[in-house]
C-alpha cells in the first residue's frame, strides 16, 4: 500500500471546513439512498441485461418491435421507469460526489454541478415521457412493428 498510494481527495492542507449546524440531513440521506438504490438497481439491471442480452437471440433481437413488445406490458413499463429514476439519481449523486472531491475552485464546482443537474433532469423527464407516451403501433409506420399491431 505504501508504494503506490493515491491520496484521498481533499486531504491536502488539513482544514476541516465542514458546515456546522446547517441542520440538514441531506448528505446522510444521499449516503443512505446510494446503498438502498444500489441494492434495488442490482436486481433491476441484472434482470434488464439478462432479458435483453442473454435470452433468445440476445442483442440481435433488439429492434423497435422488441421494445414495443416489452412496453406493451405494465410490468416492464414500471421496471424500466424504476430503473431510469433510480439509476439516474444514483449516477447523478455519484458524479456530484466526484465533482465535490476534485473540482477545487468554487466556480468550477458550481458550473460542473449545474451542467450535471440540467443534463440529469433532461434525461429523467425525457425517459419518463417516452415510457408513458409510447405508441407501439404508430400510424404510418411499416417496419419492425410488434405482431399485435393491426395490419397497415
Amino acid at each position: 500500500m505504501s508504494a503506490n498510494t493515491i491520496a484521498s481527495p481533499r486531504s491536502g492542507g488539513i482544514k476541516y471546513n465542514r458546515n456546522k449546524g446547517s441542520g440538514s440531513n441531506f448528505e446522510m440521506a444521499a449516503w443512505l439512498f446510494m446503498r438502498l438504490s444500489g441494492v434495488v438497481l442490482v436486481v433491476l439491471i441484472f434482470g434488464h441485461l439478462f432479458v435483453n442480452l442473454m435470452v433468445g437471440e440476445g442483442i440481435h433481437a433488439i429492434d423497435f418491435g422488441f421494445v414495443a413488445g416489452k412496453w406493451a406490458s405494465p410490468f416492464w413499463q414500471v421496471w424500466d421507469l424504476a430503473m431510469l429514476w433510480l439509476a439516474m439519481l444514483h449516477g447523478t449523486n455519484g458524479v456530484r460526489t466526484i465533482i465535490n472531491d476534485y473540482a477545487e475552485r468554487d466556480g468550477t464546482r458550481m458550473t460542473l454541478k449545474t451542467v450535471l443537474y440540467i443534463a440529469s433532469a433532461v434525461i429523467i423527464v425525457l425517459g419518463t415521457l417516452v415510457i408513458f407516451t409510447f405508441d407501439p403501433c404508430p400510424a404510418g409506420a411499416v417496419i419492425d412493428l410488434p405482431s399485435f399491431c393491426p395490419a397497415p
Binding site: 493515491i6 444500489g38 458524479v95
Partner: protein
C-alpha cells in the same frame, strides 16, 4: 484503495453510457425506422466488445457496491473487507465467463 478507484471509474463510465442509452431508446418515440437504424449501427463486433466491457464494469460496480454495503452495515464487514474484495472478484469472474461465452457467440455468431 484500488477497489475505491475502480468503483469511481466504473461508476462514471456507466453514468455516461446511461445518458446515451436513454437518448437512443428515446428514438422509439420518433419512429420505428429511426430506432431500428440506430440500434442496427450498434450491431457490429466493435460495439459488441464495447458492450462486453460495459457489462464487465456494471458487474464489478454491482458486486463491489454490495461489498461496500457489507462493510458499512455488517458488524464484521470492515474486518473482512479484503476477503470480501476477493469474493467480489471471484463472483465477477463467475458471472462474466458465462456472460461472455453467450454474448460473444451471439455477436460473432453471424446473422
Amino acid at each position: 484503495m484500488w477497489s475505491w478507484v475502480g468503483h469511481r471509474v466504473t461508476g462514471v463510465v456507466i453514468f455516461f453510457f446511461l445518458l446515451v442509452h436513454v437518448l437512443d431508446t428515446s428514438l422509439v418515440r420518433v419512429s420505428p425506422e429511426a430506432y431500428t437504424a440506430v440500434i442496427g449501427a450498434y450491431k457490429n463486433p466493435i460495439m459488441g466488445l464495447g458492450e462486453a466491457g460495459l457489462v464487465a464494469a456494471i458487474v464489478f460496480h454491482a458486486f463491489n457496491g454490495l461489498r461496500i454495503i457489507a462493510v458499512d452495515f455488517w458488524k464484521n464487514g470492515p474486518k473482512y473487507q479484503r476477503q470480501l474484495l476477493w469474493g467480489v472478484l471471484a463472483l465477477w469472474a463467475v458471472t462474466m465467463i458465462p456472460f461472455l461465452i453467450r454474448h460473444l457467440s451471439i455477436v460473432f455468431g453471424g446473422h
